[in-house]
Symmetry: C2
Subunit: 378 residues, 2 copies
């Protein structure tokens, strides 16, 4: 029932056949007999079209060996066939009627197995019903299996991330060229939505505008506060383009910043630059986090950097790999993620700088190219 008219631009059919094959192989490697993938970015990644998550179960069954099966409500079948196109030949489609029990149908398709992995965002109601129906098979998370595939981006995917990043840069430069003082956060947020679309996004997903003391809340929702002289403003914006996400943050200041804020910002900018520089294949994600965190801590702001340094990005705004102290996995070529340290002083102000960075053989490549300086606005 969603109005998801802009599907991912078609890529070669062979890409999806290959992804299905690799998913099956990755499942086999982990001792998983079948992956159960409900509508989600994983589903779109494997099948090339988006289906809505809803109370009627749609479930792609990818066995470690053999042909995949798509279990789909009868009235979603035409949409599925349209979305799949020629990929229909690569799988079997089983449509269920309104009074059928789709969980039993998935059970029949899966057969008698030991371990089944369910898509991370599958609704709990389905996971619990499948758990009961597939007993004594063990239900495990499909997240790691799918992340192993999806976190390593192909050159074509990186091109899409680059195009999305470029569009976000354009929107960021447009909004920071406007006078912001005297407008509410909400007005500016809506204006950013227009800029995101005008710059070539298909959807405007978020536009955090956190001004003055609100800038100390990393995920503040834009509200009725009127932006004023002397405010720091954290702008964190993004959308989607051709199925891939953008996400960039810059900090602006209304008028001349006091020395105290300029000093804080200089520390942040250096930490963000150093973390980007540290990116290379083989370095643990935790070490990239530490580069930014140590510089900020050494300057006395350690307690004010209250979130991880970054998150992977692709078909989702937040996906693996996470750039966080607890992730000791090494980065590999093709990983794409944000580097976004922030410093937040409760009740006073805050700042954040965020770029999307790709790990290449030669080190980190920033996909965002707008200046990371403090944007002085009227």
């Amino acid at each position: 029932m969603t109005n998801d008219v802009h599907d991912v631009t078609p890529v070669a059919l062979s890409t999806y056949r290959e992804r299905l094959r690799r998913a099956a192989a990755a499942a086999a490697d982990r001792g998983v007999d079948a992956l159960l993938i409900t509508p989600s970015p994983d589903y779109a990644y494997l099948l090339g079209y988006r289906a809505p998550a809803m109370e009627r179960l749609t479930c792609l069954v990818v066995p470690a060996e053999g042909e995949p099966t798509l279990v789909v409500p009868r009235l979603e079948e035409p949409l599925a066939r349209h979305g799949l196109g020629e990929l229909t030949d690569a799988l079997e489609i089983v449509a269920w009627d309104e009074t059928d029990d789709p969980v039993r149908i998935v059970q029949r398709v899966v057969g008698s197995v030991l371990r089944v992995a369910v898509q991370d965002q599958m609704w709990a109601r389905f996971a619990l019903r499948l758990n009961a129906a597939l007993d004594p098979a063990q239900l495990v998370e499909a997240g790691h299996t799918m992340a192993a595939l999806r976190s390593v981006k192909s050159p074509e995917e990186i091109d899409r991330l680059r195009a999305a990043a470029r569009a976000a840069d354009e929107a960021m430069l447009a909004i920071t060229a406007e006078p912001l003082g005297g407008r509410t956060e909400l007005e500016v947020s809506r204006r950013i939505g227009e800029h995101l679309l005008a710059a070539g996004h298909d959807t405007a997903e978020f536009s955090i505008v956190a001004s003055g003391p609100n800038a100390a809340s990393p995920h503040h929702h834009a509200g009725e506060r009127v932006i004023s002289e002397g405010d720091a403003i954290v702008l964190d914006i993004g959308g989607t383009r051709d199925g891939y996400c953008s996400d960039t943050s810059r900090t602006a200041f209304v008028g001349e910043p006091p020395a105290e804020f300029a000093a804080l910002f200089a520390v942040l900018r250096e930490a963000q630059r150093a973390a980007c520089e540290a990116v290379r294949p083989g370095i643990p994600a935790a070490d990239v986090d530490a580069v930014a965190r140590d510089l900020i801590t050494d300057a006395g702001y350690g307690g004010a950097f209250i979130h991880r340094t970054g998150h992977g990005i692709g078909m989702e705004t937040h996906e693996e790999p996470y750039i966080v102290a607890s992730n000791t996995e090494p980065l590999v070529e093709g990983h794409a993620f944000s580097i976004e340290p922030g410093i937040y002083i409760d009740g006073q102000w805050g700042a954040r700088i965020e770029d999307i960075v790709v790990c290449t053989a030669d080190g980190g490549e920033r996909l965002n190219t707008s200046s990371t300086e403090l944007y002085i606005v009227e």
Copy 2:
């Protein structure tokens, strides 16, 4: 990270306190020791603000006895406190840091119990981790408990559904007053999005425009097909207003319909009318489905009515009660749902009529008031 700036208009604080109390009581009635509610419509229903479902776990714990606890990522805490307002006094807030394991924190809050119910749309990754952490407690679905509360609408909720329905009627009348021939489905769909917003919706959620043979696919996505003379067009549109959903379908025809289509449509219109008339407290949902289905079957179109007659509506477009053959539960005063039979002839055409109906002591009250006739368009 969503841009969910339009929260539900504040209602009395006592409403949310009362809902939390009733949820705890409903859990106790079902032998459930605690409800675990992640961001979802259930969460917004209980707490009065929307939080994004994301990889960082936010979880409201409602014990059958005692005070609720909200487990929230540290950097979402300001947003949570802002969203909760004075309701903060009715619960405990436990914030977790980036390197904490939030599942362990929920486990500590829940304590040693026998049965825990998880929100229907909770991500499977969290459900599986909670299942392991809470062992040997049994994990069950919270869906029925929450539906028992949410499916019975208060007069205030019905007012919101009525306002949303009125806005959808206005958009439907606006689009059917325009010439549609020569335009693509996608153009018309986007235009409907504008009409939905102009008529007072906060968001335009969907606008199915299924023309000619596409009208035979109930959930067709509007595409590049050009609408032409002799096409039937199924228009199925909706949005949200003050946190409540609209959803209405009408059928249009470009030019004069042939007798064959007019006959089909007359059967459909009578079936839809009769099903609306059948609504009263105490009648099983299945019987309302049967009223529409029997009339359509008797007229020879039984195989062409390939979906249930309707679905509940409220804060979600699809929720309980479902008007389907397998639901033998009686309707009660305050239930709100769609009545939307359809007839779909593969490769040729289709038609659907959908109203939102509330079950009152006096029978069914249609919230949609636009004519259910066939709309003849240019």
